[in-house]
Amino acid sequence: MAKNTRRVLPGFRLTLGYTLLYLSLIVLIPLAGVFVKTSTLSWEQFWHVITAPRALASYRLSFGASFLAAFVNVFIGILVAWVLVRYEFFGKKIVDALVDMPFALPTAVAGITLTALYAPHGWIGQLLAPLGVKVAFTQLGVFIALTFIGLPFIVRTVQPVLEDFDPELEEAAASLGANRWQTFWRVILPMLYPALLTGFSLAFARALGEYGSVIFIAGNMPMKTEITPLLIVTKLEQFDYAGATALAVVMLVGSFVILLTVNLLQWRSSRHLAQFAQA
């Protein structure tokens, strides 16, 4: 085969070899270590660790708050992307750049800042306190932090789709008598589904593993406001390596399953859209 398709460009073996070596050393071998380490536990021990009440409570919070935050971000993301693509207003370019702030602001800084803002005496917390709403050191605080870090994902996946949106589709809808709301709901939104799914899954996966921005605002009370990554760290600090690893496996498998499901859904919906485009 090498003789027939002689490559004009050099460096294939060198670059691919280096890529595989570096990938294995930094990512694959260390990650495999997690599964090797878990195998030192018997099945009963493993099951005992991952179904302990404290662990179950942490999954509920981690998966629940991450899901809710990503879900809320879908609506915020559509609104922000829509406004940025469709309308002109003063300072639009700055706003557009600011959307990436949660990516650029280190998580520890986001964590202490959100805590200071939403604490009972903070700028926002003191407005909410008379209403009886407590954010800092409650599950609501976890949700706020996860919404903050997930915000850019949906905006950045929806934005290019809206930019490339064929105006003829909207014109056709209008000429067939649809009002703007109907056009948005029945024509534009269905075209955004694949992008929304991608953005949702990215935000969800990121929120699931998030540590820095959550631990400050959460208050970290076992059974109540303790996220799974924190429980892993707690176990590590007690030198319970096997326990920490077992929880890590649950999280890894959880996020892989979610990403796989969403990829499958997305593949189906894009196939659906392709059929629609052909018809």
Partner: protein
């Protein structure tokens, strides 16, 4: 033909809004809603970092940076980013070259594997190195016999930082180099350039903006990483504390103002990153258009 189209063209300023535009009130409402939300969610936190940092005056702010512990944290952050960013940069270029310029089986699996660190929790990123090099790990006896410290020491911090910033440069360059194709490099080779000459004179100028973009994002994450570094660092003050870890320590010591003072460094880094990112995005689009026209010609 030209006359008829001019004849039928609608006048520029229509008395009625177009059927595919929203009424001005809906538009104002949507813009207002989005700006209000972004203001509360993004701008207020950013402003509050600086406000909290200057709460006790400029003197206290400067005092925080005179602390040798703060300075050693800054130094360690620069060391960690200074090693991991170039490593991932070389990897990114190599991976993009292999993936974009050649065809081989398993390419899409390789691309997925490169993205893997993004869907792994930072805490797990730290954990895997503790398992590998820490007390119970397979290398522990050898490492302690030879007096090499990785976990709770600088090498562990560098490794964890490298892991979490692993995909940044590669995932930026792979689509870019795939879009550019290999015709220009092939032409250079046919004209007698060596492999290195082709890379330095043809490929690198074509990818420089994408590369810079990846490096900037990679660096921002490397300097700001908290979770992964926190797990492997051991929190030894003055020795294994990076800027984000130092912020946590100050905060837990009830020195909130000090924590925010150090946090302004990272907030500033974030702002610089945003500005550079926006600027490079424009350059990148311009460069890509130039390549496209060149290839088309």
């Amino acid at each position: 033909m030209g006359d008829t189209t001019t004849f039928f063209r609608a006048p520029r300023r229509e008395p009625h809004r177009r059927a595919t535009a929203e009424s001005p009130w809906v538009r104002r409402l949507l813009i207002g809603g989005a700006l209000c939300f972004l203001g509360i969610f993004l701008v207020v936190p950013l402003v509050s970092v600086f406000a909290e940092a200057l709460k006790k005056g400029l003197g206290f702010y400067c005092h925080t940076f005179n602390d040798p512990l703060t300075l050693s944290a800054i130094k360690l952050t620069f060391i960690a980013a200074g090693i991991s960013v170039p490593l991932n940069c070389v990897f990114g270029v190599a991976a993009a070259w292999a993936i974009a310029k050649f065809d081989f089986r398993g390419k899409s699996i390789l691309i997925t594997l490169i993205d893997l660190p993004f869907c792994v929790s930072p805490v797990i990123a730290g954990l895997i190195y503790v398992l590998l090099f820490g007390a119970p790990g397979p290398f522990w006896t050898w490492l302690s016999d030879h007096n090499v410290k990785i976990i709770f020491a600088v090498p562990g911090i560098v490794l964890a930082t490298t892991f979490v910033t692993f995909p940044f440069v590669a995932r930026e360059l792979i689509p870019l180099m795939q879009a550019q194709g290999r015709t220009e490099e092939e032409a250079a080779r046919v004209l007698g350039a060596s492999g290195w000459q082709t890379f330095w004179r043809v490929t690198l100028p074509n990818i420089k903006w994408g590369l810079l973009y990846g490096v900037i994002l990679c660096n921002a994450r490397a300097m700001g990483e908290f979770g992964a570094v926190s797990v492997v660092s051991g929190h030894i003050r003055g020795q294994t504390n990076t800027i984000p870890l130092h912020i946590e320590i100050l905060y837990n010591d009830y020195n909130t103002t000090g924590a925010f003072a150090v946090a302004t460094l990272l907030a500033f880094l974030g702002l610089v990153t945003l500005v550079l990112k926006t600027w490079i995005e424009r350059k990148k689009i311009a460069a890509l258009r130039a390549t496209e026209t060149r290839v088309a010609a």
